[in-house]
Protein backbone atom coordinates (compact mmCIF):
# COMPACT_ATOMS: atom_id res chain seq x y z
CA UNK A 1 0.00 0.00 0.00
CA UNK A 2 1.61 3.24 -1.10
CA UNK A 3 1.05 6.41 0.94
CA UNK A 4 -1.50 9.04 -0.08
CA UNK A 5 -1.99 12.75 0.72
CA UNK A 6 -2.58 12.52 4.48
CA UNK A 7 0.50 10.27 4.89
CA UNK A 8 2.68 12.67 2.92
CA UNK A 9 1.43 15.58 5.00
CA UNK A 10 2.44 13.78 8.21
CA UNK A 11 5.88 13.01 6.82
CA UNK A 12 6.11 16.63 5.69
CA UNK A 13 5.38 17.90 9.21
CA UNK A 14 8.27 15.79 10.47
CA UNK A 15 10.67 17.20 7.86
CA UNK A 16 9.64 20.76 8.70
CA UNK A 17 10.31 20.19 12.39
CA UNK A 18 13.71 18.50 12.10
CA UNK A 19 14.92 21.25 9.80
CA UNK A 20 13.25 23.88 11.98
CA UNK A 21 15.10 22.69 15.07
CA UNK A 22 18.38 23.01 13.19
CA UNK A 23 17.39 26.49 12.02
CA UNK A 24 16.38 27.62 15.51
CA UNK A 25 19.75 26.53 16.86
CA UNK A 26 21.91 28.12 14.16
CA UNK A 27 22.99 31.09 16.30
CA UNK A 28 24.07 29.01 19.25
CA UNK A 29 27.14 27.59 17.59
CA UNK A 30 30.06 29.92 18.30
CA UNK A 31 32.94 27.68 19.33
CA UNK A 32 34.08 24.20 18.38
CA UNK A 33 32.87 22.96 21.78
CA UNK A 34 29.37 24.21 20.90
CA UNK A 35 29.50 22.35 17.61
CA UNK A 36 31.02 19.06 18.78
CA UNK A 37 29.89 18.83 22.42
CA UNK A 38 26.85 21.14 22.54
CA UNK A 39 28.91 23.41 24.81
CA UNK A 40 28.37 20.73 27.50
CA UNK A 41 24.94 22.18 28.22
CA UNK A 42 22.39 19.41 27.67
CA UNK A 43 20.02 18.36 30.49
CA UNK A 44 20.22 14.71 31.57
CA UNK A 45 16.84 13.55 30.24
CA UNK A 46 17.49 15.06 26.78
CA UNK A 47 20.97 13.51 26.64
CA UNK A 48 19.50 10.21 27.86
CA UNK A 49 16.87 10.00 25.12
CA UNK A 50 19.42 11.08 22.50
CA UNK A 51 21.79 8.39 23.82
CA UNK A 52 19.10 5.82 23.08
CA UNK A 53 17.94 7.32 19.81
CA UNK A 54 21.40 7.61 18.25
CA UNK A 55 21.68 3.84 18.52
CA UNK A 56 18.12 3.28 17.32
CA UNK A 57 19.04 3.37 13.66
CA UNK A 58 17.54 1.32 10.90
CA UNK A 59 19.65 -1.76 11.55
CA UNK A 60 18.53 -1.81 15.14
CA UNK A 61 14.80 -1.52 14.43
CA UNK A 62 14.69 -3.74 11.34
CA UNK A 63 17.33 -6.15 12.63
CA UNK A 64 15.82 -6.66 16.07
CA UNK A 65 12.39 -7.41 14.61
CA UNK A 66 14.04 -9.85 12.19
CA UNK A 67 15.79 -11.56 15.12
CA UNK A 68 12.51 -11.63 17.02
CA UNK A 69 11.02 -13.60 14.14
CA UNK A 70 14.07 -15.86 13.77
CA UNK A 71 14.87 -16.52 17.43
CA UNK A 72 11.84 -15.31 19.41
CA UNK A 73 11.88 -13.80 22.88
CA UNK A 74 15.50 -14.84 23.50
CA UNK A 75 16.47 -11.88 21.30
CA UNK A 76 15.80 -9.72 24.36
CA UNK A 77 19.15 -10.95 25.73
CA UNK A 78 20.57 -8.13 23.59
CA UNK A 79 18.72 -5.76 25.94
CA UNK A 80 18.33 -7.50 29.28
CA UNK A 81 21.77 -9.11 29.46
CA UNK A 82 23.58 -6.86 27.04
CA UNK A 83 22.64 -3.21 26.79
CA UNK A 84 21.04 -2.41 30.15
CA UNK A 85 23.77 -3.74 32.48
CA UNK A 86 26.40 -2.12 30.25
CA UNK A 87 24.61 1.23 30.39
CA UNK A 88 24.45 1.02 34.18
CA UNK A 89 28.16 0.24 34.32
CA UNK A 90 28.92 3.20 32.06
CA UNK A 91 26.89 5.60 34.19
CA UNK A 92 28.03 4.42 37.59
CA UNK A 93 31.68 3.53 37.00
CA UNK A 94 33.02 4.88 33.72
CA UNK A 95 31.37 8.25 33.18
CA UNK A 96 33.34 9.90 36.02
CA UNK A 97 36.52 9.34 33.98
CA UNK A 98 35.15 10.24 30.56
CA UNK A 99 33.49 13.40 31.84
CA UNK A 100 35.89 14.23 34.66
CA UNK A 101 38.99 14.02 32.46
CA UNK A 102 37.46 16.71 30.19
CA UNK A 103 38.31 14.52 27.21
CA UNK A 104 36.40 15.70 24.16
CA UNK A 105 36.07 12.23 22.67
CA UNK A 106 36.66 8.59 23.54
CA UNK A 107 39.94 8.42 21.56
CA UNK A 108 41.07 11.54 23.41
CA UNK A 109 40.52 9.75 26.71
CA UNK A 110 42.85 7.01 25.43
CA UNK A 111 45.45 9.67 24.63
CA UNK A 112 45.19 11.14 28.14
CA UNK A 113 45.27 7.74 29.83
CA UNK A 114 47.70 5.88 27.57
CA UNK A 115 49.52 7.49 24.67
CA UNK A 116 49.32 8.94 21.19
CA UNK A 117 49.55 5.67 19.27
CA UNK A 118 46.67 4.05 21.16
CA UNK A 119 44.52 7.09 20.44
CA UNK A 120 45.56 7.09 16.78
CA UNK A 121 44.67 3.43 16.33
CA UNK A 122 41.27 3.92 17.96
CA UNK A 123 40.49 7.23 16.22
CA UNK A 124 41.32 6.03 12.72
CA UNK A 125 39.48 2.72 13.04
CA UNK A 126 36.47 4.44 14.62
CA UNK A 127 36.26 7.17 11.97
CA UNK A 128 36.45 4.66 9.12
CA UNK A 129 33.94 2.43 10.79
CA UNK A 130 31.32 5.11 11.42
CA UNK A 131 31.41 6.34 7.84
CA UNK A 132 30.94 2.86 6.44
CA UNK A 133 28.26 1.85 8.95
CA UNK A 134 26.34 4.94 8.09
CA UNK A 135 26.67 4.06 4.42
CA UNK A 136 25.47 0.51 5.01
CA UNK A 137 22.40 1.71 6.85
CA UNK A 138 21.72 4.29 4.15
CA UNK A 139 21.81 1.46 1.64
CA UNK A 140 19.30 -0.53 3.67
CA UNK A 141 17.12 2.54 3.89
CA UNK A 142 17.27 3.10 0.14
CA UNK A 143 15.99 -0.42 -0.51
CA UNK A 144 13.23 -0.10 2.07
CA UNK A 145 11.96 3.31 0.99
CA UNK A 146 11.91 2.02 -2.54
CA UNK A 147 9.59 -0.76 -1.44
CA UNK A 148 7.37 1.30 0.86
CA UNK A 149 7.20 4.74 -0.74
CA UNK A 150 8.03 3.85 -4.30
CA UNK A 151 10.96 6.27 -4.26
CA UNK A 152 13.98 5.26 -6.25
CA UNK A 153 17.26 4.50 -4.50
CA UNK A 154 18.91 7.81 -5.49
CA UNK A 155 16.05 9.97 -4.23
CA UNK A 156 15.91 8.18 -0.86
CA UNK A 157 19.65 8.32 -0.26
CA UNK A 158 20.19 11.91 -1.39
CA UNK A 159 17.08 13.35 0.26
CA UNK A 160 17.75 11.86 3.69
CA UNK A 161 21.44 12.70 3.45
CA UNK A 162 20.56 16.30 2.58
CA UNK A 163 18.14 16.71 5.49
CA UNK A 164 20.64 15.32 8.00
CA UNK A 165 23.42 17.43 6.49
CA UNK A 166 21.41 20.63 6.80
CA UNK A 167 20.35 20.22 10.39
CA UNK A 168 23.82 19.18 11.58
CA UNK A 169 25.52 22.00 9.66
CA UNK A 170 23.15 24.49 11.25
CA UNK A 171 23.17 23.39 14.85
CA UNK A 172 25.96 20.85 15.28
CA UNK A 173 25.62 18.21 17.97
CA UNK A 174 22.87 20.13 19.78
CA UNK A 175 20.73 19.95 16.68
CA UNK A 176 21.43 16.23 16.31
CA UNK A 177 20.60 15.62 19.99
CA UNK A 178 17.38 17.66 19.98
CA UNK A 179 16.23 15.95 16.83
CA UNK A 180 17.06 12.59 18.37
CA UNK A 181 14.55 13.42 21.11
CA UNK A 182 11.86 14.15 18.49
CA UNK A 183 12.87 10.98 16.67
CA UNK A 184 12.74 8.93 19.86
CA UNK A 185 9.12 9.89 20.55
CA UNK A 186 8.14 9.40 16.90
CA UNK A 187 9.60 5.90 16.92
CA UNK A 188 7.74 5.02 20.12
CA UNK A 189 4.44 6.55 18.99
CA UNK A 190 4.79 5.12 15.49
CA UNK A 191 5.45 1.50 16.46
CA UNK A 192 3.45 1.10 19.69
CA UNK A 193 0.04 0.86 17.95
CA UNK A 194 1.53 -1.75 15.61
CA UNK A 195 2.28 -4.01 18.56
CA UNK A 196 -1.20 -3.37 19.92
CA UNK A 197 -2.94 -4.22 16.65
CA UNK A 198 -0.73 -7.24 16.00
CA UNK A 199 -1.36 -8.68 19.45
CA UNK A 200 -5.08 -7.97 19.21
CA UNK A 201 -5.20 -9.73 15.87
CA UNK A 202 -3.65 -12.87 17.32
CA UNK A 203 -5.75 -12.87 20.50
CA UNK A 204 -3.36 -11.13 22.86
CA UNK A 205 -0.17 -12.44 24.44
CA UNK A 206 -1.85 -15.84 24.99
CA UNK A 207 -2.73 -16.17 21.35
CA UNK A 208 0.79 -15.14 20.38
CA UNK A 209 2.42 -17.70 22.71
CA UNK A 210 0.09 -20.44 21.52
CA UNK A 211 1.04 -19.79 17.89
CA UNK A 212 4.73 -19.57 18.80
CA UNK A 213 4.61 -23.12 20.16
CA UNK A 214 3.67 -24.23 16.62
CA UNK A 215 6.57 -22.18 15.22
CA UNK A 216 8.93 -23.90 17.65
CA UNK A 217 7.71 -27.47 17.22
CA UNK A 218 7.59 -27.10 13.43
CA UNK A 219 11.34 -26.46 13.52
CA UNK A 220 12.05 -29.28 15.97
CA UNK A 221 12.45 -27.27 19.18
CA UNK A 222 10.69 -27.47 22.55
CA UNK A 223 7.28 -25.69 22.47
CA UNK A 224 8.41 -22.72 24.58
CA UNK A 225 11.59 -22.06 22.54
CA UNK A 226 10.17 -18.88 20.92
CA UNK A 227 8.48 -17.41 23.97
CA UNK A 228 11.15 -17.80 26.65
CA UNK A 229 14.51 -16.16 27.24
CA UNK A 230 16.57 -18.52 29.40
CA UNK A 231 14.71 -21.82 29.74
CA UNK A 232 16.21 -23.29 26.54
CA UNK A 233 19.70 -21.86 27.01
CA UNK A 234 21.15 -24.92 28.78
CA UNK A 235 22.32 -26.41 25.52
CA UNK A 236 23.05 -24.73 22.16
CA UNK A 237 21.06 -27.35 20.23
CA UNK A 238 17.83 -26.68 22.13
CA UNK A 239 17.31 -23.04 21.03
CA UNK A 240 17.13 -21.41 17.61
CA UNK A 241 20.05 -19.05 18.38
CA UNK A 242 22.36 -22.04 18.76
CA UNK A 243 24.06 -20.60 21.84
CA UNK A 244 24.33 -21.65 25.48
CA UNK A 245 24.02 -19.51 28.61
CA UNK A 246 27.75 -18.96 29.01
CA UNK A 247 28.18 -17.63 25.47
CA UNK A 248 25.22 -15.30 26.03
CA UNK A 249 26.32 -14.00 29.42
CA UNK A 250 30.01 -13.70 28.62
CA UNK A 251 30.19 -13.12 24.86
CA UNK A 252 27.07 -11.05 24.25
CA UNK A 253 26.66 -9.57 27.71
CA UNK A 254 30.08 -8.88 29.07
CA UNK A 255 32.28 -8.51 26.00
CA UNK A 256 30.17 -7.32 23.07
CA UNK A 257 27.58 -5.18 24.84
CA UNK A 258 29.95 -3.58 27.32
CA UNK A 259 32.37 -3.05 24.45
CA UNK A 260 29.74 -1.21 22.44
CA UNK A 261 27.80 0.75 25.06
CA UNK A 262 30.78 1.74 27.21
CA UNK A 263 33.35 2.62 24.55
CA UNK A 264 31.56 3.59 21.34
CA UNK A 265 31.84 7.34 20.91
CA UNK A 266 28.55 7.44 19.00
CA UNK A 267 26.66 6.92 22.27
CA UNK A 268 29.22 8.19 24.80
CA UNK A 269 29.31 11.57 23.00
CA UNK A 270 25.69 12.18 24.07
CA UNK A 271 26.61 11.75 27.72
CA UNK A 272 29.74 13.91 27.32
CA UNK A 273 27.48 16.74 26.09
CA UNK A 274 25.52 16.77 29.36
CA UNK A 275 25.65 19.93 31.46
CA UNK A 276 27.30 18.50 34.57
CA UNK A 277 29.03 15.43 35.90
CA UNK A 278 25.89 14.20 37.61
CA UNK A 279 23.83 14.75 34.44
CA UNK A 280 26.47 12.88 32.42
CA UNK A 281 26.30 9.94 34.82
CA UNK A 282 22.51 9.90 34.78
CA UNK A 283 22.39 10.00 30.95
CA UNK A 284 22.90 6.25 30.34
CA UNK A 285 20.86 5.40 33.45
CA UNK A 286 17.88 7.40 32.19
CA UNK A 287 18.33 5.80 28.77
CA UNK A 288 18.31 2.33 30.37
CA UNK A 289 14.70 2.71 31.54
CA UNK A 290 13.07 2.90 28.08
CA UNK A 291 15.78 0.58 26.76
CA UNK A 292 14.61 -2.28 28.93
CA UNK A 293 11.08 -1.94 27.54
CA UNK A 294 12.22 -1.78 23.93
CA UNK A 295 11.99 -5.53 23.33
CA UNK A 296 8.20 -5.05 23.43
CA UNK A 297 8.43 -2.39 20.75
CA UNK A 298 10.98 -3.88 18.34
CA UNK A 299 11.28 -7.63 19.08
CA UNK A 300 7.63 -8.49 19.71
CA UNK A 301 6.58 -7.29 16.20
CA UNK A 302 8.94 -9.87 14.72
CA UNK A 303 7.44 -12.56 16.94
CA UNK A 304 3.94 -11.49 15.87
CA UNK A 305 5.03 -11.64 12.23
CA UNK A 306 6.38 -15.18 12.43
CA UNK A 307 3.51 -16.44 14.62
CA UNK A 308 0.99 -15.02 12.21
CA UNK A 309 2.82 -16.49 9.22
CA UNK A 310 2.79 -19.94 10.82
CA UNK A 311 -0.88 -19.78 11.84
CA UNK A 312 -2.64 -16.62 10.69
CA UNK A 313 -4.83 -14.38 12.78
CA UNK A 314 -8.19 -12.98 11.70
CA UNK A 315 -6.60 -10.46 9.33
CA UNK A 316 -4.33 -12.98 7.63
CA UNK A 317 -0.90 -11.34 7.87
CA UNK A 318 1.97 -13.39 6.44
CA UNK A 319 5.63 -12.57 5.90
CA UNK A 320 6.79 -12.36 2.28
CA UNK A 321 9.44 -14.72 0.89
CA UNK A 322 12.82 -13.85 -0.55
CA UNK A 323 13.65 -14.89 -4.12
CA UNK A 324 15.47 -17.96 -2.74
CA UNK A 325 12.29 -19.16 -1.02
CA UNK A 326 13.21 -18.36 2.59
CA UNK A 327 11.10 -16.00 4.69
CA UNK A 328 12.14 -12.36 4.53
CA UNK A 329 12.42 -11.59 8.25
CA UNK A 330 13.80 -8.10 7.62
CA UNK A 331 10.42 -7.04 6.33
CA UNK A 332 8.58 -7.86 9.58
CA UNK A 333 8.03 -4.26 10.66
CA UNK A 334 7.65 -2.66 7.20
CA UNK A 335 5.12 -5.26 6.04
CA UNK A 336 3.16 -5.08 9.27
CA UNK A 337 2.99 -1.29 8.92
CA UNK A 338 1.39 -1.55 5.52
CA UNK A 339 -0.84 -4.44 6.59
CA UNK A 340 -2.33 -3.05 9.81
CA UNK A 341 -2.14 0.73 9.44
CA UNK A 342 -4.81 2.65 7.53
CA UNK A 343 -3.84 5.87 5.74
CA UNK A 344 -3.04 8.43 8.38
CA UNK A 345 -1.41 6.01 10.79
CA UNK A 346 0.57 4.70 7.85
CA UNK A 347 2.09 8.16 7.53
CA UNK A 348 3.01 8.11 11.21
CA UNK A 349 4.53 4.62 10.96
CA UNK A 350 6.59 5.57 7.91
CA UNK A 351 7.68 8.76 9.69
CA UNK A 352 8.85 6.58 12.58
CA UNK A 353 10.93 4.51 10.16
CA UNK A 354 12.39 7.65 8.55
CA UNK A 355 13.11 9.06 12.01
CA UNK A 356 14.99 5.92 12.98
CA UNK A 357 17.07 6.06 9.81
CA UNK A 358 17.92 9.69 10.32
CA UNK A 359 18.74 9.45 14.02
CA UNK A 360 21.16 6.63 13.27
CA UNK A 361 22.76 8.55 10.43
CA UNK A 362 23.06 11.78 12.43
CA UNK A 363 24.59 9.83 15.32
CA UNK A 364 27.29 8.46 13.04
CA UNK A 365 27.96 11.80 11.38
CA UNK A 366 28.31 13.81 14.60
CA UNK A 367 30.63 11.19 16.10
CA UNK A 368 32.66 11.13 12.89
CA UNK A 369 33.11 14.89 12.56
CA UNK A 370 34.29 15.18 16.17
CA UNK A 371 36.79 12.32 16.03
CA UNK A 372 38.04 13.51 12.66
CA UNK A 373 38.54 17.11 13.80
CA UNK A 374 39.91 16.59 17.31
CA UNK A 375 41.66 13.23 17.08
CA UNK A 376 42.92 13.12 13.52
CA UNK A 377 43.04 16.64 12.06
CA UNK A 378 44.10 18.51 15.20
CA UNK A 379 46.37 15.69 16.38
CA UNK A 380 48.23 14.89 13.17
CA UNK A 381 47.49 17.38 10.42
CA UNK A 382 47.18 20.89 11.83
CA UNK A 383 48.05 21.24 15.47
CA UNK A 384 47.99 24.84 16.65
CA UNK A 385 45.17 26.46 14.69
CA UNK A 386 42.48 28.73 16.15
CA UNK A 387 39.26 27.36 17.58
CA UNK A 388 37.39 29.01 14.72
CA UNK A 389 39.49 27.02 12.27
CA UNK A 390 38.53 23.74 13.97
CA UNK A 391 34.87 24.78 14.02
CA UNK A 392 35.02 25.28 10.25
CA UNK A 393 36.89 22.01 9.84
CA UNK A 394 34.03 20.33 11.74
CA UNK A 395 31.56 21.72 9.22
CA UNK A 396 33.70 20.56 6.33
CA UNK A 397 34.03 17.14 7.98
CA UNK A 398 30.24 16.97 8.26
CA UNK A 399 29.95 17.48 4.51
CA UNK A 400 32.60 14.96 3.50
CA UNK A 401 31.51 12.48 6.20
CA UNK A 402 28.03 12.44 4.69
CA UNK A 403 29.53 12.41 1.20
CA UNK A 404 31.62 9.33 2.05
CA UNK A 405 28.57 7.63 3.59
CA UNK A 406 26.58 8.22 0.42
CA UNK A 407 29.49 6.80 -1.58
CA UNK A 408 29.59 3.78 0.75
CA UNK A 409 25.84 3.29 0.21
CA UNK A 410 26.41 3.12 -3.54
CA UNK A 411 29.33 0.70 -3.10
CA UNK A 412 27.09 -1.47 -0.93
CA UNK A 413 24.41 -1.33 -3.61
CA UNK A 414 26.82 -2.71 -6.19
CA UNK A 415 29.18 -4.93 -4.22
CA UNK A 416 27.40 -6.45 -1.27
CA UNK A 417 30.37 -8.70 -0.37
CA UNK A 418 32.74 -5.80 0.19
CA UNK A 419 30.44 -4.47 2.87
CA UNK A 420 30.12 -7.87 4.52
CA UNK A 421 33.90 -8.07 4.64
CA UNK A 422 34.22 -4.58 6.09
CA UNK A 423 31.67 -5.32 8.79
CA UNK A 424 33.61 -8.43 9.68
CA UNK A 425 36.82 -6.43 9.89
CA UNK A 426 35.14 -3.86 12.16
CA UNK A 427 33.93 -6.66 14.40
CA UNK A 428 37.56 -7.80 14.79
CA UNK A 429 38.70 -4.27 15.67
CA UNK A 430 35.88 -3.70 18.18
CA UNK A 431 35.96 -7.04 19.95
CA UNK A 432 38.95 -6.41 22.25
CA UNK A 433 38.22 -2.72 23.05
CA UNK A 434 36.43 -3.21 26.34
CA UNK A 435 39.46 -4.99 27.88
CA UNK A 436 41.59 -1.92 27.14
CA UNK A 437 39.15 0.50 28.77
CA UNK A 438 38.56 -1.76 31.75
CA UNK A 439 42.28 -2.02 32.47
CA UNK A 440 42.84 1.66 31.67
CA UNK A 441 40.22 2.84 34.13
CA UNK A 442 40.67 0.35 36.92
CA UNK A 443 44.32 -0.69 36.90
CA UNK A 444 46.81 2.12 37.32
CA UNK A 445 49.73 -0.06 36.26
CA UNK A 446 48.42 -0.48 32.66
CA UNK A 447 50.74 1.29 30.19
CA UNK A 448 50.40 2.74 26.70
CA UNK A 449 52.62 0.08 25.16
CA UNK A 450 50.53 -2.55 26.92
CA UNK A 451 47.24 -1.12 25.66
CA UNK A 452 48.49 -0.79 22.09
CA UNK A 453 49.94 -4.30 21.98
CA UNK A 454 46.78 -5.67 23.62
CA UNK A 455 44.51 -4.06 21.03
CA UNK A 456 46.56 -5.34 18.12
CA UNK A 457 46.81 -8.87 19.53
CA UNK A 458 43.11 -8.88 20.46
CA UNK A 459 42.14 -7.94 16.90
CA UNK A 460 44.53 -10.57 15.54
CA UNK A 461 43.03 -13.15 17.90
CA UNK A 462 39.53 -12.31 16.67
CA UNK A 463 40.63 -12.74 13.06
CA UNK A 464 42.47 -15.96 13.84
CA UNK A 465 39.52 -17.44 15.73
CA UNK A 466 37.23 -16.55 12.86
CA UNK A 467 39.66 -18.10 10.38
CA UNK A 468 39.76 -21.37 12.28
CA UNK A 469 36.07 -21.90 13.05
CA UNK A 470 32.86 -22.12 11.08
CA UNK A 471 29.14 -22.20 11.87
CA UNK A 472 27.79 -25.68 11.13
CA UNK A 473 26.54 -26.03 7.60
CA UNK A 474 28.40 -23.03 6.14
CA UNK A 475 31.13 -23.06 3.53
CA UNK A 476 34.59 -21.69 4.35
CA UNK A 477 35.08 -18.05 3.35
CA UNK A 478 33.33 -14.96 4.66
CA UNK A 479 31.60 -17.06 7.35
CA UNK A 480 34.95 -18.25 8.74
CA UNK A 481 37.26 -21.22 8.39
CA UNK A 482 39.46 -19.47 5.81
CA UNK A 483 42.66 -20.75 7.44
CA UNK A 484 41.70 -24.23 8.58
CA UNK A 485 38.79 -25.81 10.39
CA UNK A 486 39.42 -26.57 14.06
CA UNK A 487 35.92 -26.23 15.45
CA UNK A 488 32.36 -25.95 14.16
CA UNK A 489 29.84 -23.86 16.12
CA UNK A 490 26.13 -24.64 16.14
CA UNK A 491 25.33 -21.17 14.73
CA UNK A 492 26.82 -17.95 13.42
CA UNK A 493 25.78 -16.18 16.59
CA UNK A 494 27.67 -18.67 18.75
CA UNK A 495 30.74 -18.14 16.57
CA UNK A 496 30.44 -14.34 16.97
CA UNK A 497 30.10 -14.53 20.73
CA UNK A 498 33.15 -16.78 21.04
CA UNK A 499 35.21 -14.65 18.65
CA UNK A 500 34.53 -11.76 21.02
CA UNK A 501 35.38 -13.79 24.12
CA UNK A 502 38.74 -14.82 22.59
CA UNK A 503 39.58 -11.31 21.46
CA UNK A 504 38.76 -9.88 24.88
CA UNK A 505 40.78 -12.50 26.74
CA UNK A 506 43.83 -12.15 24.52
CA UNK A 507 43.71 -8.35 24.76
CA UNK A 508 43.40 -8.56 28.55
CA UNK A 509 46.30 -10.98 28.95
CA UNK A 510 48.62 -9.22 26.50
CA UNK A 511 47.91 -5.77 27.95
CA UNK A 512 48.69 -7.01 31.46
CA UNK A 513 51.84 -8.85 30.37
CA UNK A 514 53.27 -5.98 28.32
CA UNK A 515 52.33 -3.43 30.98
CA UNK A 516 54.25 -5.36 33.60
CA UNK A 517 57.47 -5.23 31.58
CA UNK A 518 57.13 -1.58 30.48
CA UNK A 519 57.60 1.56 32.56
CA UNK A 520 54.40 2.81 34.26
CA UNK A 521 53.37 6.47 34.12
CA UNK A 522 53.80 8.65 37.18
CA UNK A 523 50.75 8.42 39.42
CA UNK A 524 50.33 12.20 39.39
CA UNK A 525 49.60 12.10 35.67
CA UNK A 526 46.80 9.61 36.15
CA UNK A 527 44.65 11.49 38.65
CA UNK A 528 41.14 11.77 37.21
CA UNK A 529 41.83 9.01 34.71
CA UNK A 530 42.10 5.91 36.90
CA UNK A 531 39.72 4.72 39.58
CA UNK A 532 42.16 4.19 42.45
CA UNK A 533 43.86 7.59 41.99
CA UNK A 534 40.70 9.69 41.64
CA UNK A 535 38.97 11.15 44.68
CA UNK A 536 35.47 9.68 45.11
CA UNK A 537 32.69 11.89 43.86
CA UNK A 538 30.40 13.28 46.50
CA UNK A 539 26.84 13.28 45.26
CA UNK A 540 25.44 15.07 48.29
CA UNK A 541 23.80 17.80 46.20
CA UNK A 542 21.20 15.36 44.92
CA UNK A 543 18.26 13.62 46.53
CA UNK A 544 19.21 10.05 47.46
CA UNK A 545 17.00 8.54 44.77
CA UNK A 546 18.67 10.56 42.01
CA UNK A 547 22.17 9.31 42.82
CA UNK A 548 23.69 7.17 40.06
CA UNK A 549 24.33 4.14 42.27
CA UNK A 550 20.72 4.10 43.47
CA UNK A 551 19.29 4.65 39.98
CA UNK A 552 21.60 1.97 38.61
CA UNK A 553 20.60 -0.56 41.24
CA UNK A 554 16.92 0.15 40.56
CA UNK A 555 17.38 -0.33 36.81
CA UNK A 556 19.26 -3.60 37.33
CA UNK A 557 16.60 -4.92 39.71
CA UNK A 558 13.85 -4.16 37.19
CA UNK A 559 15.85 -5.86 34.42
CA UNK A 560 16.39 -8.92 36.58
CA UNK A 561 12.65 -9.04 37.15
CA UNK A 562 11.99 -8.94 33.39
CA UNK A 563 14.45 -11.83 32.90
CA UNK A 564 12.57 -13.83 35.53
CA UNK A 565 9.09 -13.03 34.19
CA UNK A 566 10.05 -14.13 30.67
CA UNK A 567 12.38 -16.93 31.85
Amino acid sequence: MHPREIDWVIMGVYFVFVLGVGYALRRQVKTSTDYFLSGRSIPAWVAGLAFLSANLGAQEVIGMAASGAKYGMATSHFYWVGAVPAMVFLGVFMMPFYYGSQARSVPEYLKLRFDEKTRGLNAISFATMTVFSSGISMYAMGLLLNLLLGWDFDTSVWLSAAVVLIYILLGGLTSAIYNEVLQFFLIVFGFAPLVFLGLKDLGGWQGLSARLTHVATAQGFAPQAWSSTWSQMGDPTSNPMGVEWFGVAMGLGFVLSFGYWCTDFLVVQRAMAAHSMSAARRTPLIAAVPKMLFPFLVIVPGMIAIASTQHTGASGFVLPHKPDGTLNYDLSIPMMLSHYFPHGMLGLGLTALLASFMSGMAGNVTAFNTVWTYDIYQAYINRGASDHHYLNMGRVATVFGIGLSVAAAYVANHFNNIMDMLQLLFAFVNAPLFATFLLGMFWKRATGHGAFAGLLCGTAAAALHHGLTLPRGSVAGIKGGWLALLHAYPSEMAQNFWTAIWAFTVCLVVTIAVSLITRPRAENDLVGLVYSLTPRLRETDQAWYARPAVLGAGVLAATLLLNLIFW
Binding site: I10, A314, F341, P342, G344
Partner: protein
Amino acid sequence: MGLDIRIPLGVMFTILGLLLTGFGFFSDPVIYQRSLGIDINLWWGLALLLFGALMLCLGWRAAGGRTH
Protein backbone atom coordinates in the same frame (compact mmCIF):
# COMPACT_ATOMS: atom_id res chain seq x y z
CA MET B 1 20.51 26.46 26.58
CA GLY B 2 18.23 28.72 24.58
CA LEU B 3 15.73 26.30 23.14
CA ASP B 4 13.57 24.08 25.31
CA ILE B 5 13.02 20.97 23.18
CA ARG B 6 9.66 20.36 24.87
CA ILE B 7 8.16 23.29 22.95
CA PRO B 8 8.90 22.01 19.40
CA LEU B 9 8.10 18.49 20.63
CA GLY B 10 4.76 19.71 21.97
CA VAL B 11 3.90 21.71 18.85
CA MET B 12 4.83 18.88 16.50
CA PHE B 13 2.81 16.26 18.35
CA THR B 14 -0.15 18.62 18.68
CA ILE B 15 -0.13 19.16 14.92
CA LEU B 16 0.24 15.44 14.22
CA GLY B 17 -2.52 14.72 16.74
CA LEU B 18 -4.88 17.23 15.12
CA LEU B 19 -4.15 15.83 11.67
CA LEU B 20 -4.80 12.23 12.70
CA THR B 21 -7.85 13.00 14.84
CA GLY B 22 -9.35 15.14 12.08
CA PHE B 23 -8.66 12.53 9.43
CA GLY B 24 -10.01 9.79 11.71
CA PHE B 25 -13.18 11.78 12.25
CA PHE B 26 -13.94 12.43 8.58
CA SER B 27 -12.46 9.39 6.83
CA ASP B 28 -14.49 6.55 5.35
CA PRO B 29 -14.84 3.79 8.02
CA VAL B 30 -14.06 1.18 5.33
CA ILE B 31 -10.34 1.96 5.63
CA TYR B 32 -10.39 0.73 9.25
CA GLN B 33 -10.94 -2.86 8.23
CA ARG B 34 -7.19 -3.29 8.17
CA SER B 35 -6.87 -1.96 11.72
CA LEU B 36 -9.35 -4.59 12.93
CA GLY B 37 -12.31 -2.24 12.87
CA ILE B 38 -10.75 0.28 15.23
CA ASP B 39 -10.60 3.92 14.12
CA ILE B 40 -6.94 3.98 15.07
CA ASN B 41 -6.44 7.44 13.55
CA LEU B 42 -8.99 8.98 15.88
CA TRP B 43 -7.85 7.22 19.05
CA TRP B 44 -4.13 7.42 18.48
CA GLY B 45 -4.50 11.00 17.25
CA LEU B 46 -6.06 11.84 20.62
CA ALA B 47 -3.13 10.15 22.39
CA LEU B 48 -0.68 12.27 20.37
CA LEU B 49 -2.69 15.41 21.17
CA LEU B 50 -2.57 14.62 24.85
CA PHE B 51 1.20 14.04 24.73
CA GLY B 52 1.72 17.24 22.73
CA ALA B 53 -0.33 19.26 25.22
CA LEU B 54 1.57 17.76 28.15
CA MET B 55 4.93 18.70 26.61
CA LEU B 56 3.69 22.24 25.90
CA CYS B 57 2.47 22.63 29.49
CA LEU B 58 5.80 21.43 30.89
CA GLY B 59 7.74 23.67 28.52
CA TRP B 60 5.63 26.76 29.24
CA ARG B 61 5.75 26.20 32.97
CA ALA B 62 9.55 26.01 32.84
CA ALA B 63 9.68 29.16 30.70
CA GLY B 64 7.37 30.97 33.15
CA GLY B 65 9.59 29.93 36.03
CA ARG B 66 12.66 31.40 34.34
CA THR B 67 11.17 34.84 33.71
CA HIS B 68 10.05 35.34 37.34
